[in-house]
Structure formats: structure tokens, C-alpha cells
Symmetry: D2
Subunit: 171 residues, 4 copies
């Protein structure tokens, strides 16, 4: 798990920093679980901008947009009010009309939440799948190829995911 990106050679994760405000917390005193998806979306937006392929241009010039198709999200430790967080975003798989991203939200003591996000490229008019335009595809391809090889199980530590290898009920 890449809680410390600096320690990982060839690290290509995009990093987006934010801070936890009252709006992000709940009465349990910690970040409300749904809000990690808000943080992840901010980070994806900035990652695309940093790659030179802003999402807003995709919508405006190509009438296509990325929408979230699937989320897997592990909550590993709570983030707290005022805590500085980093969202590390890495490509995992690139299709003709889809992309899978790994996004880790990292706090001062390590990873708070680890996500796999499957995005689909769809037409803004029909909502149906549409190929990723060449410029976006090329940039994503370059990002993906620079990413560290090999699968990386969601949740990090082996054995944490009790549903692996023959998962049972409902998984």
C-alpha cells in the first residue's frame, strides 16, 4: 500500500491535497463515509487537468463525459477534522470506453480509504457508452504505462479481504 508515495520507486500516482473541514465530518467525529467519494472525484478532476486532458473540455468539445460505473471502497482508518489528506490516483486498466483507477486517500497515519473506481465514457446526449477520444486515450495510455506493474489488491494487506478466492454470499 502506498501510504508513503515517496518510498515507492517510479511512483506515478497523481497527488491531490485537501484538508478536512466541518462539512466533511459527522456526529461520530470523523469524515462521513460518503465524502471520500467527493474527495476522490476532486482528485480525478485535477488528475485529468494535470494530464492536459481536462474533463470540461471532453464535455464541451466531444460531448462525452466520464461517469462512475462501479466503486469498491475499503475504509481502513478514520480521518478527522482538520487532518490534511492526500488523494493518490493511479490508472489500473484502460479500455476503449472505460478506465479503472486506484485511488487512495491518505492521512497523517496512513491510508484512510482505498478505492477502485471504474469509469465509463458516455455520450452526454444519449448516456450510452462512447469511445474515449484519441487525445484523452493517448494521455491516459501514457499515464497507465508509467504506472507500476502488477495487480495490487484493494485493501492492501493480504488476507484483509475475506471474500477473496471463492467469495461467498453476495460478493
Amino acid at each position: 500500500m502506498n501510504g508513503n508515495p515517496a518510498a515507492i520507486p517510479g511512483q506515478t500516482a497523481h497527488r491531490y491535497d485537501l484538508r478536512v473541514y466541518y462539512e466533511d465530518t459527522d456526529a461520530g467525529g470523523i469524515v462521513y463515509h460518503a465524502n471520500y467519494l467527493r474527495f476522490a472525484e476532486r482528485a480525478r478532476t485535477e488528475a485529468l487537468r494535470a494530464l492536459g486532458i481536462p474533463h470540461a473540455v471532453l464535455v464541451r468539445d466531444h460531448h462525452r463525459m466520464f461517469v462512475v460505473r462501479r466503486v469498491k471502497l475499503d475504509y481502513l482508518r478514520p480521518a478527522r477534522l482538520d487532518e490534511p489528506l492526500s488523494v493518490l490516483t493511479d490508472p489500473r486498466a484502460l479500455g476503449a470506453a472505460s478506465i479503472r483507477l486506484r485511488q487512495d486517500i491518505v492521512g497523517v497515519e496512513g491510508v484512510c480509504a482505498a478505492a477502485l473506481i471504474d469509469l465509463a465514457c458516455v455520450s452526454t446526449e444519449t448516456g450510452r457508452p462512447a469511445r474515449i477520444p484519441p487525445a484523452w486515450r493517448d494521455a491516459l495510455k501514457g499515464w497507465e504505462q508509467a504506472a507500476p506493474p502488477g495487480p495490487e489488491p484493494l485493501g492492501g494487506a493480504a488476507g484483509e479481504d475475506g471474500t477473496k478466492g471463492g467469495s461467498a454470499a453476495g460478493d
Copy 2:
């Protein structure tokens, strides 16, 4: 997939109804993806209340709380402004200090989002796992035993989940 709960004999899903307001939507004109987790949490809260084991009492009298440990969430079709939604909540697996729920958010044309939610029972003082108190456990057990048997793959229709059976990178 139980888009139409009335059609399913022995249906034990708890049903929570809500409507989509502006606050729930985004500039794409549809429900913002993170907000399905808000809807699911409202439904869980009401399901526990309906079972006679309110979460607030768990916190107040037992100093324990359920926290979300893992989420798997498939987005199947967008929900829109003003659309009436139902959240159907079913137990899937009950442990000493955990429970897995299946939650489907169903709109007028079918399931919009299908979730598997793993909850952990933790101490409100230490944040560490703690056994589910007997009254909560008994009620959850009764609910689980009334639920339909057999695994039900997330995402519903077979083959929809392209990552099943030999899933690749990072799943």
C-alpha cells in the same frame, strides 16, 4: 434483481422511500454518485429502527456503533431530479462484530444502484471492533433468517460484472 419487490415471494427487504431533490443532483442532471451512500445510510438507520434496535440506543446504552468498513457499489442507471426512489435493504451475512447488507436503490425504471455494505460494530470509545450486543444480534439474526437464501451477485444479472471469475488488476 429485485426491482419489483412485490414480485418476490418471501421478500424481507426493508423498504425506505425518498425523493430526489436538487441537493442530490449534479451538473450532469443526475444524482451525484456519492449521494447513493447517503440514501443507503438513511435506509439502514430506518431499518434498524423498524427492527426495534435503533442505532441511537446502541450508541447511548452500549457505547458501540456500526461503521462502514467496505462498500461495493454498482451504478446501473441514473436517477433524476424529482424521481421517487426506494432503498431495499437485506441482510447478507452476520458475524460477531459485523454485518453485511445488500442495498438496492430502485427508481421508476429499475435499480439505479446496487450496493454491498460491510458494517463493523466498534466501541465508541476506542474505535476497535466490539461484539454486537445480544438484543441487536437476535433481531439481526431473525431478519437474516427470514431473508431469501443463496448468494446473489452484486450487479444482478449474470455476466454484468465483467470482473468475475478471474478478475484482473486490482479487483
Copy 3:
């Protein structure tokens, strides 16, 4: 202040009930202040629906929408997790392209937040002010005329608003 609407003869306030969930609270253990505006908006939507003039129809058939132009919001007591709240909505002034509403969010011990909301009717195409269509106007007029007469200062009890009568900087 109408904390107890039943006690007020001729009460015409629309009442919308809701409950406070974790999503609504913050690390202070109370409802996050911005969320009262979300509650108020839900209530406005349902008030229009109850009057037979749904906002969605205004948008779809008349290409007009109500947008918030001004908010005055007094926070009187905190609402807490699990608390049942009612939003009481009353018309205060009706213009050709605007309406002012009084909205009180009432909890178990009285009014939690009292709002005055100025809405403008605008064209969905241009965003510019547009006359309220006759059917909406007639229904709003009937609602307004049924409302209790006389001004009702925001914040309720006289003297609560320290800025009244010679208000200083920036009020």
C-alpha cells in the same frame, strides 16, 4: 414564533417532516449549519407539489425556475442526530417574478432555525427574471392570502435581533 403550529389559529404553513441522519451532522455533534438550507429546499419543493404547482412542471412546460436570491437565516438552537424536524413554510410576499417565504425548521424543543428566503422566477434559458406563470401565481396568491397577516420579524421574539432599529455595519 410558531414552534407549535397547532396552537396557531388559521395556520396555513405547509409542513414537511424529516429526520436528522449522520449525513446531516458534523463533528460538533449537531446539524451542520448549511444543511438547514437543504431541508428548506426539500420543504419548498413539497409545498409547491402540495399546492398543485410542482416545480418540475414549471421547468419542463414553462422553461422557468425559482432560484434563491437571498437568504436570512437565524440559528436558534442546535438540532441533533436522530431528531425529528418539521419545516414550516409560509408565503410572505408575492411579486410578479419573485416570492418571499418564511421557513422555520422546528425540532423537539422549538425552532432550530428560522429563515426568510427570497426566490426569483427566472428563465431556464437566459437566467433572467421572468414572470411567474398564471397557474403558479394564482396558487401562490391563494396561499399568501390565507396566511396570517402582519409582519413577523425574523428570529421571532422581539429584541432577539440586536441589529434592528439602527443596525450597524453591513446589516
Copy 4:
């Protein structure tokens, strides 16, 4: 109205920059009105930090916190997806247990929303008003004294606020 802070000699407003993401928008294609209060709160938090009097320390060491007592908020023009915004925060009045701030949320074409926010300092244990601790008070005093003199009506340009000078019902 200080839409262009650079044009104002002796400008002491704290400036906090942010960007509009999908999470902030609604189906109308613009920033959801309640979210300006979220932006304003982020900015207040950073303003206190920049003054060397972080809110978190106030809570931890003094068992006091600032809570919002009253909000006046004018919506002047919509902010849109991806738009860079600045929140300009200025002190307006300082009491023993309260402070009034002016906060303008400024977009690329000018002020989107202008707020007056009244904060009360309260005990975290009792929720009752409590004096602002000396260090916080001194820093706020210095900030206030550096601020431009004179009242500045909310809403900016004269005549914009149609309710001024003899305002009627409920204002």
C-alpha cells in the same frame, strides 16, 4: 463591493481559493445555493489558521468553539462547474463573545455570493456563550482594525436590495 480586491487600497481580506467540482453543483448546472456556506466555512477556518489562532486549538485548549448564529446571503450570479472561486473574508464587528464577518465568494465575472456571518463563541460543554480567549481576541482585533472603515451594505451596490429603507413583511 470588492469584486476586485486588488483595486481596494489597504485591502485586508483573507483570500481562500477553491474550484467548483461536480459535488458542488446541482441539476440546474450551477453551484447549489447551500454550498456557498460550505465554501465560506472552509475560508473562515483557513483565515483563523492564517491569523495564528486555529479553530482546532480553540476547541482543544479552551473548550470553546465558534458557531454560526446568523447568516445573510445574497446570490448575485451563478458559479459554474470548474470555475475558480475566491472567498474574501473580512471582519466587520468584534464583540466579547461574537464576531461578524463579511464573506464574498468571487468568480471569474464578479461576486457570486455575498454573505454576512455572525459567529458566537460558545462553550463546547454547555453550548452557552463564552468569552473569546485573549489570544484569539487580540488577533481578531488586529485584523478588524486593519480592515477598511465604514459600513458596507450587504448586496453591494445601492438599490440592489429592494427591501432597504422601510422593508416590509418579515425582513
